[in-house]
Amino acid sequence: MSSNIPITFELNGEDVTLEVSPTERLLDLLRYRLDLTGTKEGCGEGECGACTVYLDGLPVNSCLVPAYQIRGSRVDTIESVDSEDVDPLLRSGATQCGACTPGVVMTALWIREHPGLLQTHTIRELMAGNLCRCTGYDGIVEGVEEMLLRRDRAS
């Protein structure tokens, strides 16, 4: 298959230059060519959120982003996350099988960084784009609550 579109973008703080094919998804590029397998494929149609990454600071489903569209953009994946930041989720039982988990972590951290959203939305509404089949969501919601508390205490 021809990989003929040259792109440069910032990935987890480093510049990356490569060629992508017109049909390649950002998810494929990350997983199969850059070996960043922390980002998972759950459904391939933007329903489950397992492939959530940040594109220019906004959470997106990387299965719905054509790779060529990230030219000049900034992409941050689960591999950029600091282990201390996920400790509340570990304690609250936010992960079981782990397949949805990296996407859940990306959304959870994004909520933590945008607490103003909680004036108009609940955590449950904000997390609704990340399907989890194991936890029933309580462990996730409680983990996000604890993340927000820790953030408040730190500031």
Binding site: V81, C97, R133, D138, V141
Partner: protein, 734 residues
């Protein structure tokens, strides 16, 4: 203890099968049947593809018997010229580029000369539809206790009802997937699975290889729920056939639409109850018929049916019980193991029927359950005498108290009389779940587990029971550390690799903590014995003894061993279905408060309480998470998870149109545990994994009935179904 592999999962560092990068790997895919039944007359290969680039496998490439080894051997690994269901595997393709193999699959056309399929398991098949035995009955099982006909004839009240449940898709977030490769003459298959030894047995059978030439490794498994009990054998066989033909590694990873369309689901069920009662509502006779849709092959339907009928009479005492169960062949994609394994279906029927009885007799649904709950010294439908000392009424009462059941009922009367468009109701379900294999199943399994000493003094647990999110790694670590007085960091859990670990049985049936966990404890004890240590020896004393042992025994391995022994006093007769169906039962009550919107007919769970007696909680966070996750699966099954079938195959095979609950669809699930240690379970634990799926559907539907005055008899109660019930003024389903 925190989840052992939790940090790796949260950081995205856990490597699932599709995360493994393998040099020179081909991508495999499956060409499937377009028709539900018939002879394959031709396979056409499109001209737009250079087929010389592809590895092709069909049934002629199978070295051994073309059978998937399970209870019966009726299911072929690849269709031998005849198909029995849509999506049945016909051909396998592999190519170095994934996009190419995806394109090529669409370029293969399988032509089938159609024969009349069976598409409704409830309808007696015609002569030209018979495909199994003389009547398409895959399995027929009965339970008999007392004299049902006489008791019914004498009963002051007889209440009948028919209840139905739909299929349910597992939606484990990681799809099915396998990687197969050759290392010298050993074929290795690694991937997502619950039962490495099932896969090993299936591979050796179909490939005609000795076990030493096949190695199966479980990779971190992104959810299973039963969906990775028997089905992974199919994927493993296909990946192996391609790898053997290509002489190169092959990855066979389903995408979501293929996984939803082609893999197993929860068996649809039809359950008929005819119940005799006295004037107070005491059960005098339970006459129950159970039908489940097995799909096109036997797979696990006989054992699903077994668990279904054993749980069908509910946690109640009744002297006269007759249960007749049949698993029916249809030309649908085979149904399979799903968390609960038949028990959620029959307990939906039983617990919905209890509310129908309460309504008919004008007795309180709580009181009806209270007077009938089984008490110590009384026997279940199979004659198993319960004498575990559990306060079953206390379980129910605590759930009612936590849910503020009485207050809510009063509030709802006022709310429903005054609110223009919303209706609220509260409902309960009281139920039980037998853990471990049914009957003599655990005896037949003869599970073996090892705890090895390592030269540095640490220990390693060797078992074939796997982690799929439910907490095996953490619980086994805790149990071994506790038994030996070790720091958990000094307990290693071996990878489930059949070339190293003994067969401790499949990771199913809520058996891992209770039964296999007990083997962990006993193997730790055996390790101490082999070291010549007293039973009280702990920590450093054991560690030093292990280090010393290796100084004296070079090139040997120190192994503590344990094998399952049936506890004293358990007896089961497979022929008559009489006796102790399970070593023990866990007991629970769920209470759901539901709000129905009369403008949209959507039902929303406002509050949910789950109280259960599980012997002993081994890890509070994990146990609570198991219950909450199971409850939400049950709520999904009750309200929204709607498999739509065409020609026996799911047609809404996308997460866009097969809906599972999101965080915003469910309330916090409030959980409480009661503990009454089970002497034969690890640390007193009973099985917990499946119990929470049994209760939510009847509790939620009973609440909808209370809120709306309708009488739903089937699930899912989608808005469309509820609209029909409410607008047609036909309050009863069906």
């Amino acid at each position: 203890m925190k989840r052992r592999e939790g940090l790796a999962k949260l950081m995205g560092r856990e490597r699932y099968v599709d995360d493994l990068q393998v040099d020179g790997c081909l991508w495999g895919m499956t060409v499937r049947s377009p028709a539900p039944r018939g002879r394959i007359t031709e396979i056409r290969f499109g001209r737009g593809v250079d087929w010389s680039e592809f590895v092709l496998v069909d049934h002629d490439d199978i070295p051994g018997p073309n059978e998937i080894f399970l209870i019966e051997h009726d299911q072929p690994a690849l269709a031998p010229g005849y198909v029995r269901h849509v999506h049945e595997p016909v051909l396998l393709l592999a190519h170095p580029e994934r996009a190419m193999v995806r394109r090529a699959v669409r370029e293969v056309e399988v032509i089938v000369a159609p024969e009349p399929p069976v598409l409704d398991y409830r309808v007696t098949p015609g002569a030209d539809q018979i495909q199994f035995g003389t009547d398409n009955v895959l399995k027929h099982l009965t339970i008999e206790k007392g004299d049902v006909e006489r008791a019914l004839a004498a009963a002051p009240h007889v209440v009948e009802g028919i209840y139905e449940t739909g299929a349910q898709e597992h939606v484990y977030l990681e799809n099915q997937g396998m990687l197969a490769y050759l290392e010298d003459d050993v074929l290795t298959v690694s991937g997502s699975m619950q039962c490495p030894y099932y896969v090993l047995q299936a591979l050796t059978h179909v490939l005609n290889r000795v076990a030493s030439q096949v190695r199966v490794i479980q990779t971190p498994t992104g959810g299973g729920f039963g969906g990775k009990e028997e089905y992974p054998s199919n994927v493993a066989i296909h990946a192996a056939l391609l790898a053997l033909k290509a002489q190169r590694p092959v990855k066979l990873i389903y995408d979501r639409s293929e996984d939803l369309a082609a893999t197993t689901k929860r068996h649809p069920s039809w359950v008929w109850h005819r119940t005799g009662l006295d004037r107070d509502g005491r059960l005098l006779a339970q006459d129950i018929q159970v039908l489940i849709d097995g799909g096109a092959y036997v797979t696990l339907s006989p054992v699903v049916l077994s668990r279904a009928i054993i749980h069908a009479a509910g946690p109640y005492s009744c002297d006269n019980v007759r249960i007749d169960g049949k698993a029916m062949l249809t030309n649908a994609v085979p149904f399979g193991a799903f968390r609960g394994f038949g028990a959620p279906q029959t307990q939906f029927a039983g617990e919905r029927h209890m509310d129908v009885i309460a309504e008919t007799l004008d007795v309180d649904p709580v009181e009806l359950r209270r007077i009938n709950l089984i008490r110590d010294g009384q026997a279940t439908s199979t004659g198993q005498v319960i004498h575990d000392g559990t306060d079953r009424e206390g379980v129910m009462q605590q759930a009612l108290d936590m849910a503020q059941y009485d207050e809510k009922r009063r509030e709802h009367l006022h709310f429903n009389a005054t609110h223009p468009s919303l209706r609220r109701g509260i409902g309960l379900a009281t139920f039980y779940h037998g853990a471990g294999f049914t009957g003599s199943g655990e005896v037949v399994l003869e599970s073996v587990l090892h705890v090895a000493g390592r030269p540095d003094g640490r220990v390693e647990v060797l078992s074939s029971n796997i982690e799929m999110g439910q907490g095996t790694l953490t619980v086994f670590t805790q149990l071994a550390a506790d038994r030996l007085g070790y720091d958990p960091a000094d307990v290693v859990i071996a990878e489930a690799d059949t070339s190293r670990v003994p067969n401790s049985g499949p990771t199913v049936a809520s058996r891992t903590s209770m039964i296999v966990g007990r083997l962990v404890e006993r193997a730790c004890d055996d390790l101490k014995t082999r070291l010549g240590l007293a039973a009280e020896a702990r920590g450093a004393a054991i560690k030093n003894a292990i280090i010393a042992w290796y100084r004296d025994h070079r090139n040997e391995e120190l192994l503590g061993r344990a094998q399952y022994h049936q506890p004293e006093g358990i007896s089961w007769d497979e022929r008559t279905y009489r006796g102790d169906a399970y070593g023990t039962f866990a007991w629970a009550t769920h209470v759901a408060e539901v709000e129905v919107d009369l403008r949209t007919y959507s039902s929303r769970v406002l509050d949910f309480v789950a109280v259960q007696e599980v012997g002993k909680v081994l890890n509070e966070t994990l146990a609570r998470g198991q219950v909450q996750g199971g409850v939400v699966q049950g709520i999904g099954w009750a309200l929204m998870e709607d498999c739509r079938f065409r020609d026996g195959a799911m047609e809404n095979n996308q997460l866009t149109n097969y809906l599972i609950p999101t965080s915003d669809d469910v309330p916090p699930i409030r959980v409480a545990f009661l503990e009454n240690p089970y002497p034969h379970g690890a640390h007193g634990a009973k099985g917990l994994g499946e119990l929470p799926v049994d209760g939510p559907a009847p509790a939620v539907v009973n609440a909808i009935a209370a809120a709306t005055g309708t009488d739903p008899r089937g699930i899912p109660v989608t808005p469309e179904r509820l609209m029909k019930l409410m607008e047609k003024k036909e309050p009863r389903d069906g």
